[in-house]
Symmetry: C2
Subunit: 332 residues, 2 copies
């Protein structure tokens, strides 16, 4: 059996390129008692991984040069010396970016037996779906009848935010970077969609889409989007700050918006969050979300790249807007 | 009797100048039933008034050209046709910037009978003191043992924030713009004081003053101060956004700090507030603060300008750092 992994060859400066990554063979040890051999079936690429490529203190340790990258993945046990995880068990874990690995079983979570596709446990039923749910329910506390603005609205998190927002009784305005994505969102029932690349003045486009003002902004982007949102927020609005993807590849510091005083004038609450802090609520989320999926109330779109060697391209594609819904890599 | 008022002659562009104001005589009507004639004794100048000089929608209506300015003031009833407000009653109200006025008594609040100087009802016992108390207790929820950073720390609000912070059991770091102000703060028991004009890299100065990190930032300034605070916040820190005085006179938009992504990485809560929203809690505040004053636990410094005609100079001085503690104008 040939096992491979993708290592961080060099730290990206600005936009990552394929030169920052290397596909290398890896020799796996033979199994000890209680260990299992996992073959990965799907792996996730997510914008937050860009932050781990920078050598700095953060909420999660940076990746190291020459070592395999990590990230959410779904695998199957193909050899087992652990009776709790027999061959054939599917597991979710954080050791993506590799074809196989040997594990003491720590950090492996058996997938529940459901009709839901395995890969969705990297998306709508996994970290991005939970992020959407936490941001709306636990951070912004969106209420029925409110107006919700979502940036990167067709992404893995944003597309779920939009759909949950509709289900919670909000008017939803989404911002995307192409007309094709806009059409997809409209088909999902989003009330108004802005193509920020073609709308001209984003601030005005948002005012036109939500003349009543915005109660909740689900922030995935930063920069011009944050500026426009601040200008269009209602008094006592809440901004759930999930990501600022527009800045992740900055090589020089990009100034923030000039209208932060809106936070005072409108008495806004701006709150950052990391989904991992809320993982104790995963059960509540999963129960709710699996019911929505079963009832067809949430559509979980995916963009799939095939083959471990395509993982860097898929990752880079996140910053080029190449994904609709969750970007995943299908391992052969 | 000669009555005067100060009107807004023109809207300031950038830093206000004396040309933006005009002292004009005013003819007062004779009293109708239930009306009183108020002679103002003290008036307040506050940074927020700069915002009202701009013609825009905000939480409070803009001042109009040619009309008298408004703001907190303390007056005395010198003629009365209202039995509830006999001659000699002292009242607080929002009709500053004038020597006298006739009132239906609406908007007048009789001062309580206390040994506290009247003018303190514009400062430590009034809007600025209440702002400090609300920001710490109701917005940031400062806890014992935490580290508090305060910008404009020797100002009307900041100096009370520092002292309340010490009483709540926090380590307090203050930022000021002169060595004299720094000495005053040190004498008040503040643990570390930064003179932002001479400290070099504010970010580093703050890291040195609070190597353990900041739990609560009381934001009065914006700009570089916000940048430094974001970089030095602890995880789950709170920023109570009270003011951004560094920007009030900007004629072109000043970009925000480049490190807003710290809000995500550190899971910060950034919350703007306006003290008027919390006025229902004035009783709790006043009870607590009057006890502190009586016990000599809070020192309420003032900078006093004398004469109504000096009000514009006092107001402009707020943006030049001319005040220590509360800036007030004593009317003859």
């Amino acid at each position: 059996m040939k096992a491979h992994q993708i290592i961080l060859k060099s730290r990206p400066e600005g936009m990552p390129t394929s030169d920052n990554f290397d596909l290398t063979p890896v020799k796996l040890p033979s199994l000890q008692d209680n260990e299992v051999l996992v073959k990965n079936l799907w792996m996730s690429v997510d914008p937050y991984m860009r932050g781990r490529m920078i050598d700095r203190k953060s909420y999660i340790a940076p990746f190291q040069i020459g070592e395999a990258l990590e990230g959410g993945a779904i695998g199957e046990i193909i050899e087992s010396k652990n009776s709790a995880l027999p061959v054939g068990t599917k597991v979710s874990h954080m050791l993506g970016w590799r074809s196989h690995f040997v594990s003491s079983a720590e950090g492996l979570t058996a997938l529940p037996v459901t009709p839901i596709d395995d890969s969705h446990f990297l998306g709508v039923m996994g970290m991005p779906g939970m992020t959407a749910w936490v941001g709306l329910n636990r951070i912004a506390k969106l209420k029925e009848g409110e107006t919700l603005f979502v940036s990167a609205a067709s992404g893995a998190v944003g597309s779920i935010v939009c759909q949950l927002g509709k289900m919670m009784g909000a008017k939803v305005v989404g911002s995307v970077g192409s007309d094709e994505k806009a059409e997809t969102l409209t088909a999902l029932g989003v009330d108004a969609v802005i193509n920020y690349k073609t709308c001209g003045d984003l601030n005005q486009a948002l005012a036109d889409a939500a003349p009543e003002g915005i109660d909740v902004y689900f922030e995935n982007v930063g920069g011009e989007h944050l500026f426009a949102a601040l200008n269009n927020m209602k008094d006592y609005g809440r901004i759930a700050v999930c990501g600022m993807i527009a800045q992740y590849n900055d090589t020089t510091p990009t100034p923030g918006p000039s209208n932060l005083a809106q936070i005072i004038m409108k008495k806004l609450r701006v709150e950052g969050f990391i989904v991992f802090d809320h993982w104790a609520h995963y059960g509540d989320f999963a129960k709710e979300m699996s019911q929505y999926l079963a009832a067809g109330k949430i559509k979980a779109e995916q963009t799939v790249f095939e083959g471990l060697e395509k993982a860097p391209e898929a990752f880079i594609g996140l910053f080029e807007g190449k994904n609709k819904g969750k970007m995943v890599v299908k391992l052969s």
